[in-house]
Structures are given as C-alpha cells and as structure tokens.
Symmetry: C2
Subunit: 109 residues, 2 copies
DNA sequence: ACCCTTGTACGACATGGATCGAACGACGTC
DNA sequence: GACGTCGTTCGATCCATGTCGTACAAGGGT
C-alpha cells in the first residue's frame, strides 16, 4: 500500500471534523501532533494497541485532520493545519490552544 | 421539575463540547438556535421523535452548549454563546459561522 | 372539571465504533 | 535469503448511544 488516500481540502466537513475530534484518544493525538509536528505512528505515545491506533489514525486521516506519508517502514503523520484552517478558520487552532493537558479544566487557576 | 440543571461555565470541557457537537442532529439544533435565538423544543424543526429530541437537548445542556428555561408548558432553549466563548474563544462562533447548509461537501472535482 | 398541548421519563432495540489479539505485508538490515 | 521492525487488516467482542413508542406530568384553555 504505497499511496494513502486523503480527502481534498474541499471535502473536509464540519461534521467529520467534530466527530474525529470528539474522541479523547484522537484529541490527544492531534494535540501531540500540534506540539511535535510530524511524528511516526509509534512515536505518538498513546496507550492503545497498535490496531486501535491504526483505526484512530484512519479516522483522523479520513476526516482531513492529518496526513500520512511513507518513509521506509514507517508512516509519518502530521496535521493538515493549513488545510483545516483554510476550510474552517479558527477551529483547529482553538482546539489546539485549549487541548486540556490531561484534565485541568476543573479549577480555574 | 421546575429547576433544570446546567453546568457552570468552568465545567464546560473541550471533549464534552466536541462530543455534543459531533452529532448531526445536535449540530442542526445549535445552528437553528444560532439563527433564531431562543426557541421552544417544538420549534426546532428537527426530524426526530420527541423523546429523541429531549435526549439531544439534554446532551447539549449537559455539555454547557445550551440553557433551558420554563415558560408555562414550554421549554425555551437558547445557546450559551457567551459562556462557551469565554471558555473556548472562537470555537462556537466558528462552528456557527460554518454550519453547512445541508451538505456541500460533495464533488468539487 | 375536562381535555389538549408540551415536554419528560422509562424501557427496548439496533447500530456504531472503540478495543483487542492474531495473522499478514512491506522494508530495511544482516 | 533470513530475520526483525513497523504498521495494516481481519474477526470478534463489548459498550455507548441514537432511536423509537408508550406512559406520564405539568399548564393552560374551554
């Protein structure tokens, strides 16, 4: 499987985006990518099995949130920040800005 | 049931918001409220049964997206735009600005 | 008082999807 | 070519939740 399918920018939908981001695991993946930039699948550090990770990455990719390219035996995943921003200005940046670092939303600093 | 429970602003979470907004029916409800302001349950014009609508309104309310007040035999629902904006600036306004008027994601070949 | 309208509560059902383990495929290294 | 690494695919499972119908509660109008 050399070529990996990605939706074009215009195919990114609000529903798809929100659904993709509504899962905690995927939200953490997006957060990590926002911090670290392009990362291999194994480098994401999520606490799920490989097959589950593959599933989540596919959901994110299908929603247009991320892109994946092959490098040898690895898959390098990165955010499509520009595309998503172009389509829905402010959404992804807002999510990235607020990605609760775990769950600090309780107390109001 | 006179008093209806609403979360305080600080309890609104990103995950909760995104989850609440990730359902098409709820997204349409939010979109309608954004257009029309305070609306009764029956005035939302969604194509689901009453019980399902009650369920969705509860999810939105629990997520902090909407508030409900009683007026006679009706429940008037409205967005908590200010609260959500205060908590996650830009998120709700972005969603409202882009509420697809149906489904324009089709072709664009 | 009666009834109608409005919405909620409850139980049942079906589907989606999050999860995992095991088997497999693609690449690089030896 | 053999092996190890990295990730995908497949099948199974299990839980959350979206959906509905029915029964019920609250208010207003006649």
């Amino acid at each position: 499987m050399r070529t990996i399918a990605h939706p074009v920018t215009d195919q990114i939908t609000m529903s798809g985006l929100l659904h993709a981001l509504s899962d905690p695991v995927r939200l953490e993946i997006v957060r990590t990518l926002g911090h670290c930039g392009e990362t291999s699948c194994g480098g994401l550090g999520v606490s799920v099995s490989k097959s589950t990770l593959t599933h989540h990455l596919k959901v994110l990719r299908d929603a247009g949130v991320t892109q994946t390219r092959c490098q040898g035996v690895q898959r390098l995943v990165s955010l499509r920040e520009d595309d998503v921003e172009a389509r829905f200005p402010g959404l992804l940046s807002c999510v990235l800005a607020h990605h609760e670092p775990g769950n600090t939303q309780a107390g109001v600093p």
